[in-house]
Symmetry: C2
Subunit: 465 residues, 2 copies
């Protein structure tokens, strides 16, 4: 693509808007900004800027648009598919310092935020008001705008849905610098095409989120977790559709295997409540009364025992819940620390196909002689499967990674799954989405991209391009 | 716009695909197909066809696309803004006979349907399985595809959200005849731009919905309704933000006035449980245990009494609930039957601005000497305000209608509301959406329209055009 290269005049312009201490070039830019959490895709921006206001974002975009300079926006950089990597160089806008909580509105049950507020700050803040922001992705240091741009789901999607379901309104800066407000504090909206829902999951390619209005709900006063050991993973996961069918409506149903638990114990330097079994389900139930929750979890505990569970541990104190969930929270880091390099696949399949998919990935370990670790959201069919490089050479790794991924995504298609449940397509998963949808479907997506960004300057080369 | 006029060759083609008994022209077409529920916008299609399969829809669209013939799709025709009126003539596709329930999947909690299944059929069907499809718009004879195309909300949006929140997957026919599947039985999806969410609320302008996969949830075993009389509407509605703030989480909070109740009594020929007060709130609570529900409604009943409610009637039997909700269900028809003609405004405002908006419409009655009736979803800020023609001349009606609407939509903007909460923009509300969003925002919507439909043949002249 034919972009203008950043030169001294451009830098001068950016300094005139932001002052010198918020414009970085060359060695002033940490290499962290060249990649996201996984690091497999990497490129430095020509210039990195820190913004504090919507107005600044708008002025920069107008300039970039007029001069045909590529722009990539970045939050915490916790992505896994290279969506925030500036593959064409140009300007990187760091939104991390637009991180104020603007307003909590208890009459409308909304929370208004700047885009750089971290997920962990949101839950802490709203729970003081007895309110609840249900989406709960594992990576709590992600920004809210990052979560919106991937439509992150997390643990509680089983009962409460995903990020999309909690976005009431957005302030956006378009590629040409225009500022639009979509949605608002309103509960319903049928006023034209839902731009808001198109931005959600668009991975920074259509517009820049500069303000967010979230929906909150009353905080359920009680929650309890069950840790259920099974003799093997197949038995554990095969139990999940029966739990769903029982209508007990758990908040979360996670699955995990001993190897991942051991890695987490080592990473955290602290013991998990139990590591003697091969596989576990971890469930949460929340509600307004103890009776309600007990009724639900007793039903589920009985189903698990009937299906061959070895025991049912109840975590009803904060301390016990923390022991389990803090381990769950570091699985990704723990697996990453156990190997030299890794890559991930976050397919989503119908809930009753999870067992079949996991069994298949297990077989791939043997076929390809490669370590594969998985954990994830059994209750909503969204798996996080990690293939580990260990002591493979770079060349072997590239080859095996490609073959294993091809096999996994092809299996997912066979099971009527989709490429990504919550991590997105970014740069790394483009070819698999193309295989899933075909060129006509991608052409439609590209047409939508050009409807927002006719000069193709905002995060080009991502998702459908 | 430069469209091909339907001629004998086109009719011959349609007959070759559908056979003679599913292709209608001239006087064979009932005038019902020239308008929707309100009738203010009216135009006959040149040819009306009945389809039974996705393949038929695809062949017709490919033909229409190649020949540049405008196409409008119609379900039950229960819309209120002219979205299904063929303002450029051409082909009307009647989807009403694609009305089979295809599959209920209890392991994935999904329901797969053809687009013409009626809302009333869905709730009846799934409740047999102890499952629940929460969206509950007043018009139960609307089709599911109609509900998807307006993103209908209904009574239970306060607790359960709107139609959008329950769409898992769609099969679509694009304007050029291509068939795409978006989403699926999966719970999460971050695989490219959400075409599914763009179709939801697009009022038949982007693609034709030919199959639907809905999300179901467990049916709450218990529900109770409260009918709460207040001395006046202002007191009733001012109580709502306090209820929301109390975190009691009712399923529905509707408001109604005595005049509308009297009209419903007359229309139904049966008595409402109480009609002695000027204004009412009607609330529902649902849940798993009696204790849970009682705790919630007692809290709310106390708030209502503190705020000046005259009494609190509890409807806990099916009979009593039916007496109240069947009246609520006919409000639109009852108001319509009480006058010569009417038009409606379904603005949505933040929940704590409803009282101010309703007070304002009340003043408009006096200023413009016109009857205005309103009812609607106090709990989610979505109002249904009807202005009645009564014995005005056509000319006076046109003039007053315009002035009253201008005043109402301008007030809504002032309160940070939006043009439509659930009825859509269609043809009738285009100018008000333009005033709200401005030309640049509409241009973006039109670019999106052209991304799907470069020849602009599918329901042209609607929403943003």
């Amino acid at each position: 693509m034919d972009y203008k290269r950043i030169d001294a005049v451009d830098i001068e312009f950016l300094v005139s808007i932001l002052a010198k201490d918020r414009v970085f070039t060359g060695k002033e830019i940490s290499s962290d900004f060249s990649h996201d959490e996984l690091g497999g895709i990497s490129k430095m921006p020509d210039v990195l800027v820190e913004v504090l206001t919507t107005k600044e974002v708008s002025i920069i975009m107008e300039y970039a648009y007029n001069n045909r300079i590529p722009v990539v926006v970045r939050g915490s950089g916790t992505g896994l598919v290279g969506a925030s990597v500036p593959i064409y160089g140009g300007i990187m806008i760091n939104m991390a310092k637009m991180n104020k909580i603007i307003e909590i509105d208890e009459e409308n049950l909304t929370l208004t935020l700047e885009p750089g507020v971290l997920l962990m700050e949101i839950s802490e803040f709203v729970e003081e008001y007895d309110l609840f922001y249900p989406p709960d992705p594992g990576e709590k240091s992600a920004t809210i705008a990052g979560n919106i741009n991937t439509n992150a789901g997390g643990m509680r999607a089983v009962k409460y849905g995903v990020t999309r379901d909690y976005i009431r309104g957005l302030e956006l800066v378009l590629p040409n610098g225009e500022i639009f407000n979509v949605g608002g504090k309103v509960v319903k909206n049928s006023s034209g095409y839902s731009i808001k829902d198109l931005i959600c999951g668009s991975e920074g390619t259509l517009a820049i989120v500069t303000k967010v209005i979230l929906k909150l709900i009353p905080l359920p006063p009680l929650a309890i977790s069950l840790l259920v050991p099974f003799p093997n993973l197949d038995m554990a996961i095969s139990t999940v559709p029966k739990i769903v069918k029982s209508k007990a409506a758990p908040t979360a149903i996670e699955f995990m295997q001993r190897e991942v638990i051991l890695a987490a114990e080592e990473y955290l330097g602290k013991k998990f409540p139990d590591n003697s079994s091969d596989a576990y389900l971890l469930l949460t139930f929340d509600g307004n009364s103890k009776e309600d929750i007990e009724k639900a979890y007793e039903k589920v505990a009985n189903i698990c025992i009937e299906e061959g569970a070895l025991d049912v541990f109840i975590a009803d104190t904060d301390e016990r819940k923390d022991a389990v969930w803090s381990a769950r929270g570091v699985f990704l880091e723990a697996v990453k620390a156990s190997t030299t390099d890794m890559d991930e696949c976050d397919v989503v399949v119908p809930r009753n196909k999870v067992a079949e998919f996991i069994k298949y990935t297990d077989e791939l370990q043997k076929v390809f002689h490669i370590r594969i670790r998985s954990f994830g959201h059994a209750g909503d069919g969204n798996l996080h499967v990690y293939i580990l490089k260990d002591d493979l050479t770079d060349k072997e790794w590239e080859q095996k990674r490609k073959e294993v991924f091809e096999a996994m995504y092809s299996k997912s298609r066979e099971l009527k799954g989709l490429v990504s449940g919550e991590h997105g397509i970014g740069f790394a998963k483009k070819s698999y989405m193309l295989e899933q949808y075909g060129p006509e479907y991608l052409k439609l997506m590209e047409n939508i991209k050009l409807a927002f960004d006719p000069k193709n300057i905002l995060n080009p080369g991502k998702v459908c391009q």
